[in-house]
Amino acid sequence: MALAPELKEILACPRCKGDLEFREELREIRCHACRLVFRIEDDIPVMLLDEARPLGDRPPGRSGEGGGAP
């Protein structure tokens, strides 16, 4: 199921509460102000700051969970 349009409008970044860009083809939601990428997993947006990755980084590999510290 794609993200319900009426709720897309109310989604905001959990950090800055600002607007988000939906890139459903990439299974991503982006906050450009915070430069964060939230992944969409099994149609569930993972809106957790702990699990967001910096915009511009490559997505971590499946085995790379938690291993991406600079």
Partner: protein, 252 residues
Amino acid sequence: MTFAVAADAYDRYIGRYSRELAPRFLDFAGVQAGPVLDVGCGPGGLTAVMAQRFGAVKVAAVDLSESFVAACRTRVPGAYVRLASAEALPFADGTFEAALSQLVLTFVKEPDRMAAELRRVVRPGGVAAACTFQAEGFALVRTFWEAARRFDPNAPDDARLPFRRMPELVALWERAGLRDVTTGHIDLEERYADFDDLWAPFAFGIGPAGGYLVAQREERRAAIREAYRELLGAPTAPFSLPARVIAVRGRV
């Protein structure tokens, strides 16, 4: 201590109390219309009742546990459910008519931030409400610690957990700047088919009591089980246990 458990395990332990609680908590909150938000939705006990009343498309829900989010989505098709922290909600200011949180506050790391977030995402004039089990009023867990302390005087006790007493709830809501703060009790009674219906879910390791139990040696676990059964009067027929829930609401 964990809540990262299969949704059906949680439902057999705590979630079963939600069936009776959720509609009454929603009544207490006095919510008349959506959109509404369920913070810490678990497998969706409250989310489902919100969807019945306001329509699923008017309901959003968040939880930190992936298995709960998946279960809630299955239980409440059409509701918007996502993985998010109660302390950093992914919604713009003033989005909802009401934000409710059922049986969650005790386990939140930063309750003041959570209260502030509930207030923030509700429109001016809307409602923020929360409820928890009262310290001494939750027979299922109180009896467990009574049994455990027979063998271990230092066994922890859910009654010592935060937000199990009304003044704490009121103070939290007032610190968050909510107006017209009011409180209420919701008295529940849950029915058990037999003692194992009650006991089996403790072995899933859910919450403080389950976590304590699974950390004990087998003989101790068996002794606590026997003590618990005895405290209930060794029931041989179906029986009920009371649970008192305390609730707080305020206006944004």
